[in-house]
């Protein structure tokens, strides 16, 4: 490695020492993004808790069937997609490129399935009269506002993740993106999964009657 540095002459960033944390800048940036994004989700969930505690007649409109069951299936899908993501990162690390691409595609498809179920649920709720400013179940209108904004923010992350996974799968197939890219995308995907593990109990289970 030091030899290649010498032969390359004035290598741009090569004079930098190895990172003391042993990870590449790209991966470090993803961790930092995750920290910032966790603060974002944290503050919006804090806001939800704050408003919920301040409303004595907070509604609990969700029935086990279909809402909770649907959300449980979504949770299962998202958790499984974390597993397939692990398999993709593992395959990319070992250099089994086509296998990695396949796992990436499966992960993206699971993400699409999650988003599809989520949107179906949303549109059913819209049909029942739920919206950002309307609550057909009675009680604070804030229910719809907080439910749709928090799950919406999460859905936005899932959508961005599906796009990233697709781009990554195509790029990895052509050799444009290496194993570190795949792993970094995986970090993001696991984080989106982790956020759902807060959203599911706080927004679904706590609002079940």
């Amino acid at each position: 490695m030091h030899d290649s540095e010498m032969t390359l002459g004035p290598g741009a960033l090569s004079r930098a020492e190895e990172s003391p944390y042993g990870i590449k800048s790209r991966k470090m940036a993803m961790w930092l993004f995750i920290i910032a994004d966790a603060a974002t989700f944290g503050s919006i969930l804090f806001g939800y808790g704050y408003l919920r505690l301040g409303s004595p007649d907070w509604p609990r409109p969700f029935a086990f069937f279909p809402t909770i069951l649907n959300a449980a299936v979504m949770t299962f899908i998202l958790l499984s997609s974390s597993l397939t993501m692990l398999a993709a990162a593992d395959a990319a690390q070992a250099g089994r490129r086509s296998q990695a691409v396949r796992w990436l595609a499966v992960t993206a498809l699971l993400g699409v399935a999650f988003a599809g179920l989520h949107l179906r649920e949303w549109f059913t709720m819209f049909g029942e009269g739920w919206s950002l400013s309307h609550n057909p179940a009675g009680g604070p209108v804030l229910f719809g506002a907080s439910f749709f904004s928090i799950t919406g923010l999460h859905l936005l992350h899932v959508t961005a993740g599906v796009v990233a996974l697709t781009v990554m799968a195509l790029g990895h197939q052509r050799g444009r993106f290496d194993a570190v890219h795949v792993e970094t995308t995986g970090l993001y995907w696991h984080f989106v999964d982790l956020v759902w593990m807060f959203v599911f109990p706080l927004l679904y289970l706590m609002n079940a009657h």
């Binding site: 004035p10 910032a36 400013s133 209108v141």
Partner: protein, 604 residues
């Protein structure tokens, strides 16, 4: 590479290095000066934007001050610019409030955050750690342009029919959330405000991410964390604060935006009647906005001031010709301030109606945070003690920084206690306090940085005589403006009023006039700075590589530095940043990148 099934690590490494070798200067005007990926150009862009912003902010403050001193005298031309709210040249209270809102927003976000942190940080952080550029040049460019668009969106609020928002830079809900009914400017103007600040958050998050990664990953050989210059440390800590703070303000602005245009009621309680209209909202909490805003807002104070700490700790030893006293303690104190800044936001809310017990809870860390701040000041004074100071303009502004920071900080001891704050919070005492400790101190940090680094940035020296006049007049001026405000506050003069014409407050008018005169003169004095800036940029004496006999890496390269910062030379760092007052090869200092024996750039 594309066809190999499993690239060996060495192969991958080499390809990456080859890609990095393409780090060549760009071609064409747009790529070089406008959409540049070069951290030095981006730093200058940030500074130029801050210069425009500070002029706008200053003109707004003149208009406000003029009205406060002479409430019935028309301002020439105001009637033409603002035909409805400034008819005849005398502004309405609403126009005053919109000027106040825009002054605060522009100054806090687009001057005090961009100039010392994003501006100087972008230009000097990579050079000081010996890197060729930021870790993510594209993110860096995006960071500036998103911030710039945010600035334009904010300025656009002046141009909408009802004018700029009137809710203050804190945009307190529910008035900021209900829309038009709450007053002029709270329609489209306030929506633009929320969009602008959300964009600003995105821009600064990209910047923070870049700063942290660059500091941790791109340091050159020998540049251990302990050998980093204090300014690098300050920007590093600031970006960690910013990473969390801006990512909380961002969703807060989005929720505010939803309240305004999406029909939600996060920040609006039930049964609110404004302008005789029952607002169609219920269930929300105005306090929630304050919690989210100040959870960002207090760290923001340190985002504005910590780069100033870094600049003073970096510049002062170069002119005192002594190392800073207790360097590790200094860094530890800055980190402690950064951590504590997240625990004190409630001290802005003592009067907000939150549980009185939480006031005590927030009062304690507020008093605790004064301990590291005091230690830092004592370390600077200890550094000055017994030094044969070189009285350059940059050194003078550092001393000025310490002075105004102490003057503003002392009143913080009073305000940290809920029982005293209850009386003082709504008065000019607070205005004087935060202008000193955050506004003027940070500005003095920016001035010190400008006079110190200008030769490196533009390859020419600034005029020292003009600079010293600028310092002396500004220093006297800011004390004349902000010291009397403490007195006004103690006398019960409320803030945020556009004029004090009633019998009860009339007694304060002479002092308000004095402050107005001082503000106009101090503002006019800044022309000396602008002349110096532009004249020196083109006509100043050509700057040598190391005009101040300083030690850090930026002084080991040409002025201005080449595109890749060090040319073909790879700096290797042999010692800490603070080797002054020692036997060195070319004077009483030893540079970080010069080995004990041998010339510049000799291999380790």
């Amino acid at each position: 590479m594309a066809d190999s099934a499993s690239p060996s690590p060495v192969h991958r490494d080499t390809t990456e290095k080859l890609a990095q070798l393409k780090h060549l200067p760009p071609e064409g005007f747009l790529r070089t000066h406008v959409f540049s990926l070069d951290h030095k150009v981006i730093g200058k862009q940030y500074l130029d934007m801050a210069l425009v912003a500070v002029i706008v902010g200053m003109v707004l403050s003149w208009l406000m001050r003029f009205h406060l001193g002479f409430p019935e005298t028309p301002v020439p031309g105001l009637g033409t610019i603002a035909p409805s709210s400034g008819a005849g040249g005398v502004m309405t209270p609403e126009l005053y409030l919109s000027l106040m809102t825009m002054h605060g927003t522009i100054m806090v976000f687009f001057v005090l955050t961009t100039a010392p942190f994003a501006g100087f940080g972008n230009f000097f952080l990579p050079i000081q750690v010996g890197a060729e550029d930021m870790a993510f040049p594209r993110f860096n460019m995006m960071s500036f342009w998103v911030t710039f668009v945010g600035f334009l969106v904010l300025l656009a609020a002046f141009l909408v029919p009802e004018g700029a928002p009137i809710s203050g830079w804190t945009a307190y809900a529910p008035l900021s959330a209900v829309g038009k009914d709450a007053g002029p400017g709270l329609g489209l103007g306030q929506t633009l405000w929320a969009v602008s600040i959300a964009l600003f958050c995105v821009g600064q998050l990209l910047g923070s991410l870049n700063f942290i990664t660059t500091t941790l990953d791109l340091r050159t050989k020998g540049m251990s964390l302990a050998r980093m210059p204090f300014s690098t440390w300050a920007w590093f800590i600031t970006s960690i604060i910013g990473l969390i703070a801006f990512s909380v303000l961002l969703p807060a602005c989005v929720l505010l935006f939803l309240d305004r245009v999406g029909g939600t009621s996060f920040f609006i309680p039930a049964g609110l009647v404004i302008s005789d209209r029952l607002q169609p909202h219920s269930g929300g909490s105005p306090l929630l906005w304050q919690h989210l805003f100040w959870f960002f807002g207090h760290p923001e104070v340190y985002i504005a001031i910590l780069p100033g700490f870094g600049i003073v700790s970096h510049v002062l030893p170069a002119f005192a010709r002594k190392p800073v006293l207790g360097p590790r303690l200094l860094i530890g104190c800055m980190a402690a301030i950064g951590f504590l800044s997240y625990t004190v936001w409630g001290h802005h809310m003592f009067l907000s109606g939150m549980n009185p017990f939480s006031a005590t809870l927030f009062s304690v860390p507020t008093l605790v945070i004064t301990i590291p701040a005091t230690i830092v000041v004592l370390l600077w004074i200890g550094t000055l003690y017994g030094a044969r100071l070189r009285f350059t303009t940059a050194a003078l502004f550092c001393i000025g920084f310490i002075s105004v920071f102490v003057s503003g900080g002392i009143s913080g001891f009073f305000l940290a206690q809920p029982s005293i704050d209850t009386y003082l919070h709504g008065t000019y005492f607070v205005v004087g306090h935060f202008h000193f400790v955050m506004g003027v101190a940070a500005m003095f940090g920016i001035f010190a940085g400008t006079y110190f680094w200008f030769p490196k940035m533009y390859g020419r020296m600034m005029n020292e005589t003009l600079g010293k006049w600028h310092f002396v007049l500004t220093f006297i001026g800011v004390y004349c403006i902000f010291m009397p405000m403490h007195y006004l506050g103690l006398a019960g003069n409320v803030r945020r009023y556009s004029a004090f014409t009633d019998e009860y407050m009339k007694g304060s008018l002479p002092l308000h006039r004095f402050i107005t005169y001082a503000a106009l003169v101090t503002g006019a004095v800044q022309i000396l700075f602008f002349i110096n800036l532009f004249w020196s940029r083109f006509r100043g004496a050509v700057a040598p590589e190391n005009p101040w006999e300083a030690t850090t890496l930026e002084w080991s390269t040409s002025s201005p530095p080449p595109f890749d910062n060090f040319g073909t030379w790879h700096p290797v760092v042999y010692r800490g940043p603070d080797e002054y007052g020692v036997e060195g090869p070319s004077g009483d200092f030893r540079m970080q990148a010069v080995p004990d024996r041998g010339g510049k750039g000799a291999p380790a």
